[in-house]
């Protein structure tokens, strides 16, 4: 098989990373922020060429956590893949379940009862709250304030995980959603407890915001670093908070209007400069909007079945065909593309990983920045390796 010359250093085409020339004072240092590195949020590797402190070239290397999720999914039934979707983006397991369930419902033309839609919105927004709390906590950890600010983020996350555990049985791997609804009906006490926790959360967001806005060191380090122009962001397929921080108004909850998001009124925050500071303020503002959605959803959740009675769980065989379903996961547009040949197992099972595609422009953002800022820029993209390498 003829292999194309893969080591072509010359980049042509307008949207590829610009080559940054070293200023010739010192020699270049080839270093790899490798798989085992405290700042890479998991086993992610970047081969960085440094001219002193400035980054000249940055090539990410993936695959250290490639667990063959798609090959395994082709060998088992649709239902058996649901616990595997928990382990895709292992911080937000419920939104992964939701995206997969949505795609299979679109593939098989399955309806979902009212109450199940409300429960899905509640759990999805709770997952977004704990994911953004972690992302901001890890930013401050990457910046050097190691330990204490992360404890704030984890304190809220523990309460939300308790909610998940009482409802679904497991803290992190919920395996909760099915095609046509959810597995367990939340009890009134659970909803009451959820309301109490959601009522307490705005105080936490104020605490965190005070930590962020008043802190000169944080402002000095994050404003103006890792700028992402909006047109390059759209062309590079970047989605989620990173895209909205560059000022592009594209939130799937408003664009696709999937599930029942058109019933809640919430705003989509947008950034202006597209730098690291904007990406983190966006996450805090989205946290507030999620809390607004949660209050409305918890207030008017209807009764009724959680699972569509006509839904077939055992030997579920969707008709031949294909479907691409996507949702607004905390990290971006999480999509599932399924091709069915009528059998119990999917013929092709593809996950659209928002973290991997958001990393396409990591090199563009890091060129010319200091090495210490590369850590911040990577933290602001907020990747999870289970989803990047699948």
């Amino acid at each position: 098989m003829n292999v194309v010359d893969t080591k072509s250093e010359k980049h042509e085409g307008w949207n590829l990373p610009p080559a940054v020339a070293p200023d010739g004072e010192g020699e270049l240092l080839e270093v790899s922020m490798g798989p085992h590195h405290p700042s890479t949020h998991g086993v992610f590797r970047m081969d960085v060429t440094l001219d002193g402190e400035r980054v000249i070239r940055l090539k990410p290397v993936f695959g250290y956590l490639h667990r063959n999720h798609e090959k395994l999914a082709e060998g088992q039934t649709y239902l058996a893949s649901i616990p595997y979707t928990d382990r895709l983006d292992y911080i937000c397991s419920l939104t992964n379940n939701w995206a997969y369930a949505l795609a299979v419902e679109k593939l098989a033309g399955q309806e979902v009862p009212e109450r199940a839609e409300y429960v899905r919105v509640i759990l999805g927004e709770l997952t977004r709250v704990q994911n953004h709390a972690l992302a901001v906590g890890f930013l401050l950890q990457d910046m050097g304030a190691s330990g204490t600010p992360l404890m704030y983020g984890f304190r809220e996350r523990e309460e939300i995980l308790d909610l998940f555990e009482t409802l679904t049985g497991s803290r992190m791997m919920c395996n909760y959603m099915r095609f046509g609804g959810c597995r367990v009906d939340p009890t009134a006490e659970w909803l009451e407890r959820a309301r109490k926790i959601v009522a307490k959360l705005p105080k936490f967001v104020d605490e965190f915001e005070a930590l962020l806005i008043g802190n000169e060191i944080l402002i000095a380090r994050t404003q103006g670093t890792g700028i992402l122009p909006p047109d390059l962001a759209v062309n590079a397929g970047v989605t989620g908070p990173v895209l909205r921080a560059s000022g592009v108004n594209y939130d799937l909850r408003k664009v696709d209007r999937y599930s029942i998001y058109d019933r809640f009124d919430f705003k989509v925050p947008l950034g202006e400069h597209g730098d690291v500071y904007d990406r983190f303020m966006i996450r805090l503002l989205e946290l507030r909007q999620s809390l607004r959605i949660l209050e409305q959803a918890l207030k008017d959740i209807p009764g009724g079945p959680v699972m569509d009675p006509k839904a077939k769980i055992r030997n579920f065989r969707p008709k031949p065909g294909e479907a691409y379903g996507r949702i607004e996961a905390p990290k971006g547009e999480l999509g599932f593309y399924l091709i069915s040949d009528g059998g119990p197992n999917p013929y092709r099972y593809r996950v659209r990983p928002p973290s991997l595609i958001n990393l396409t422009i990591l090199e563009d953002m890091c060129l010319g920045q200091n090495v210490a800022d590369v850590v911040l820029i990577l933290g602001s993209v907020d990747i999870v390796l289970g989803e990047v390498d699948r």
Binding site: V3, V4, G63, K71, K106, A108, N235, G237, Y337
Partner: protein, 223 residues
Amino acid sequence: MKTVEEIKAAIEAAVPGAGVEIVLNPGPAAQHSLRLAPESALAVATFLRDDADLALDHLSNVTGVDWPDKEIAEKVKVTRTVAKTVDGVEQQVEETVEETRKRVEPGCLEVVYHLFSVAKKHGPVVLRMRTENRSDRVELPSMTHIWRSADFQEREIFDLYGVVFKGHPDLRRLLMWDEFKDHPMRKDYVEPDDYEYEPTPHDHVLARAQEHQKKIEAAGNKE
């Protein structure tokens, strides 16, 4: 949002001689797709991105699909001249006989593109491209210069399926290590025999255990 037929018409109007055909999606999702000929794919893609009312500037998903060679048993009517004695006279008579003939339909590697529009906020336009066969002619044009988001996804398809994307700036293996030789996501990929001890092997695990044992004896008595 235009229907697939309107988009096909718009493409043929804008890009003369573009090989476009519609592939219907029988499932309830009804997301029909357009199959492009690889030669004119880049021109069509640039048109879809820069067109005023389509404005498909967000390539969301690039997927590789492996269609292996299929054996199709067909009922074929064959007329053969047969010598037959009809009321005592030797004659050549055509005779149509029902015959099932095994025909191997050559497989191919397919790449599916899902396009959305951030400007116009409208839904998926699905493009498909096929390679000639699965062994040596597996080249397809790369879309990285039109949509930058295809960069890593095409590298992943090159790694797991073996489709070579011409014009890709940095076509290396994305997920497996560089010395790896196979394309693991293909349907005919055989995993290495790193079978290890299973306390209670049963059906396919039992089969692997016995096969592993045979290999060890073969290796054993070879030394």
